[in-house]
């Protein structure tokens, strides 16, 4: 083989594909499972890549860059497209200048998300073509094809991955970057200014384009039919796309499989042709019956089955595929799993030892206030022993929820706080903060500022003073924004100072006005200085009361009935001595 190749994750392969396609501008907000697309793309030459404060802004930047003729990529997790839905739906009307591809990384099984929505329906609603790769090589190839389609049909294109495609590695062929000449910008208000007078003809245009796309989808080289050398059941055919194809191909080795590369618009004639002579079409897809329902609606005169064999939630797997196989054709080898062994204690994720969020939730739990939460590492505070979160809806929602709660029941004043991380604040907390000021909220908004976007792996944000591509820039401080919005009571505290923290929270809760408390301490995983001091539990003083365990720090442990601090895990944050009223937790040398 004279070409170069490499093992890449689907995300890295998308970045590679974008680079090979000649992309010059890319924007995203980090979110699992999409994060690594921009991280990877930012390392290529000739690409400007940025973290945006949210997905809506990212898409707006892409739109502008595309008008200027650049090929542009935007990446987001599935729920990110909800945030970007507003520009997205109208972008389908305006179309593009340079090619514009939007990656939606869906998360079946909710490995790291608050829901498991199937974003293929967005493509259908917006009348935008949708491509679904099933491994890294295809992810790269489909991105390049998506850019070609985007320019040929003057439309944004959705590329949909799922967690397994995003985060699994397979071999990818590396090719050179396309030598692309950027088209000149030409002012065209009737295309880009969507006042009703211009929008109506664009709607007609959109429908016509949809019909041309449907014709294109029929003959796309991205579709593929696998026909086994010797068919086991010629009357059965399988229709599938994305990662589901890989599971199907490994288990259903004896039947015809139609793998769709473009799933929106649906290639109706292709499916019709595939169904000819068959009695059953089995549709294998994760989440919703997106293909199944549309195929049923074609009225092909064959039986179409899908969700009666494959679940409507979670990921597909070899085990599920084998079960479907067994139902259809009888036994196939050993049963997928032996029974699980006796119960094994669970190991849920935890806030790190020394995490600066922990003291805040410890205090909130102690004060028995309602905590309107948000999305970030601090979501883990919902778990025992902190149990300190009452809600988690979406990015930025907690601040608005707290205001709504207070408006619904004025008696709970002083008993509701909202918590939001620094990156989340920039994402969509600012608007709800302004709303709270304007509508005279009286609650406490706590901004957990650990100087990074920690949950997704420490991506830069406007509070950090550096960009994705490591340029030094001015720092945006949440307290300055709160001040500009008109908040009168603003406190900045060090959450490691437990007593001071509690005092401030109590004082602000007692007010009859809105307060903002910024709890600022760098994420413990980013701290550069080594361990400054050692802490230990003095066995002679310890009364085995267990109060220190309620803090939930992984470094505080019980071994053979003795309470102790694990020296390897401890990051010397120094909070724990103030947990013990008997003074058993001590600094070494004191």
């Amino acid at each position: 083989m004279n070409t170069k190749s490499k093992l890449l994750t689907g995300n890295e392969a998308i970045a590679r594909g974008a680079w090979e396609a000649g992309v010059t501008v890319a924007a995203a907000y980090p979110g699992t499972p999409s994060t690594e697309i921009l991280e990877s793309l930012s390392t290529y030459d000739q690409v400007y890549a940025q973290w945006s404060v949210n997905e809506k802004v990212a898409l707006e930047i892409a739109s502008g860059a595309s008008m200027e003729g650049a090929r542009t990529l935007v990446a987001m997790k599935h729920v990110g497209l909800n945030v970007a839905a507003d520009p997205f739906m109208t972008l389908a009307y305006t179309g593009v200048g340079g090619g514009l591809v939007i990656v939606t990384a869906d998360d079946p099984a909710m490995h790291s998300s608050q829901n498991e929505q199937d974003n293929r329906y967005y493509a259908l609603m917006a009348k935008v073509p949708l491509l679904e790769p099933s491994d890294s090589q295809e992810a790269k190839q489909y991105v390049i094809e998506a850019f070609r389609l985007s320019e040929k049909y003057d439309t944004p294109v959705l590329l949909r991955t799922t967690t397994r495609v995003s985060h699994s590695k397979s071999e990818v062929e590396l090719l050179p970057r396309l030598d692309r000449i950027k088209p000149e910008y030409a002012k065209d208000s009737s295309k880009y200014v969507m006042i009703p007078g211009y929008g109506r003809p664009r709607r007609t245009n959109l429908i016509n384009r949809w019909n041309r796309l449907a014709a294109h989808a029929e003959n796309s080289p991205l579709h593929y039919i696998y026909r086994p050398a010797c068919s086991q059941a010629p009357e059965v055919g399988m229709v599938t796309s994305g990662i589901s194809y890989q599971y199907a191909r490994e288990v259903f080795t004896g039947i015809d499989i139609l793998k769709l590369g473009i799933t929106c618009p649906l290639p109706q004639k292709l499916i019709q042709g595939f169904a000819r002579g068959k009695k059953l079409l089995l549709v294998a897809e994760e989440l919703e019956p997106f293909l199944e329902d549309q195929i049923k609606a074609l009225g092909l005169g064959v039986e179409v089955a899908g969700k009666q064999y494959f679940p409507q939630q979670g990921e597909l797997s070899l085990a599920i595929m084998k079960e479907a196989y067994t139902q259809l054709f009888g036994s196939r080898g050993q049963s997928p799993f032996s029974p699980a062994p006796q119960e094994v204690p669970s190991r849920p994720p935890v806030l790190c030892a020394g995490c600066s969020h922990r003291p805040v939730f410890y205090v909130l739990h102690k004060l028995k206030v309602r905590v309107m939460g948000d999305i970030g590492c601090y979501s883990l505070a919902v778990l025992p022993p902190l149990n300190a979160m009452d809600s988690l809806l979406c990015m930025g929602a907690g601040v608005g929820q707290a205001l709504g709660m207070e408006k619904a029941n004025p008696d709970i004043k002083g008993k509701v706080v909202s918590v939001i991380g620094d990156s989340t604040f920039f994402h969509s907390g600012i608007t709800s903060l302004v709303d709270s000021v304007y509508n005279q909220g009286t609650g406490v908004i706590i901004i957990l500022d650990n100087r990074t976007t920690a949950m997704t792996g420490h991506q830069a944000n406007p509070g950090m003073g550096s960009t994705l591509q490591k340029e030094q820039v001015p720092v945006v401080l949440p307290e300055k924004i709160a001040e500009a919005a008109g908040v009168k009571n603003i406190q900045v505290v060090d959450p490691y100072q437990l007593e001071q923290l509690e005092k401030v929270i109590k004082k602000e809760l007692a007010r009859d006005e809105l307060s903002v408390i910024v709890c600022r301490q760098e994420c413990v995983l980013l701290k550069k200085e080594g361990i400054q001091e050692r802490f230990f539990i003095d066995q002679a003083v310890c009364r085995d009361c267990g109060v220190c365990l309620k803090f939930g720090c992984p470094a505080i442990q019980v071994r053979k009935g003795k309470y102790l601090i694990d020296g390897i895990m401890c990051t010397s944050c120094g909070v724990c001595p103030s947990l013990c009223k008997f003074g058993a937790i001590k600094r070494e040398g004191r």
Binding site: L7, T32, P33, T35, H111, S112, D135, T163, R164, H167, S168, K169, S170, E171, P228, A229, C230, Q232, A233, Q246, Y247, R249, E250, T253, G254, S317, L318, A319, K322, F329, G330, S331, G333, Q334, P336, F337, S338, A340, P341, Q342, V344, P345, S346, R347, P348, P349, V350, C352, L380, L383, P384, M455, G457, L549, K550, G552, C553, P554, Q557, V558
Partner: protein, 205 residues
């Protein structure tokens, strides 16, 4: 193979799956599971095999249970594993958690090390005792390796993952050259020698 109710032609790909070697790597966030999986996957690629590797990022980074799968063979489809030929567990409780995923003829390599989940303390439970016996009771074919001790002996407590790969390498049909080259490609330059040493230490088991 047991009887099959339907007649599946022998050449229809039925046995392709049997050519695939599936390795499950399990442990606790922070132990270097993903890196170990990346080294194994690249070694197999260098050995001319098709490889797929899968893992889950995100919440699981924060001290939770982490699992990564690597599959190698002439042709690999699913990146995830149904039942594994090898399980490499970097922690004993995680070994027990995944023991039932091992094929009957498979082999499980377990690092003799305990990391207690925080959830145990807060629910006033103890880390389970006699885990070796509990794992043995599942009927899996396993080997307990004092990798943590070995890692401390060579002065690099965080190299347990690569020591365990060294142990695994003795049971897999991949050339030593592929392993060493993969380690060089996957770890930071300054850590190459340390990891090569750890790998060689593992091969002594």
């Amino acid at each position: 193979m047991e009887d099959r109710k339907t007649c599946i032609p022998q050449n229809a790909g039925q046995d392709i799956q049997e050519d695939i070697v599936s390795v499950l790597l399990a442990g606790v966030g922070g132990q270097g599971i993903i890196l170990a999986a990346a080294i194994l996957a690249e070694a197999a690629r260098l050995g001319g095999l098709e490889v797929k590797q899968s893992e889950i990022h995100g919440m699981s980074q924060r001290g939770g249970s982490v699992v990564s799968s690597v599959r190698l063979g002439r042709q690999v489809f699913s990146p995830t594993i149904d039942r594994a030929d090898f399980i490499v567990a970097l922690e004993k409780l995680e070994a027990l958690r995944y023991a039932h995923r091992l094929k009957k003829a498979g082999l499980m390599l377990i690092s003799d090390y305990e990391i207690a989940p925080v959830s145990l303390f807060t629910s006033k439970q103890q880390y389970p005792s006699h885990l070796e016996d509990k794992i043995a009771k599942t009927g899996v074919n396993c080997q307990l390796v004092d990798a943590q001790q070995a890692a401390c002996q060579i002065g690099h407590p965080k190299t347990v993952n690569v020591i365990m790969l060294g142990v695994l390498s003795r049971h897999m049909d991949l050339s030593l050259q592929c392993w060493l080259q993969s380690i060089e490609q996957n770890v930071p330059l300054k850590a190459v020698d340390i990891n090569l040493e750890a790998f060689r230490r593992g091969r002594q088991y």
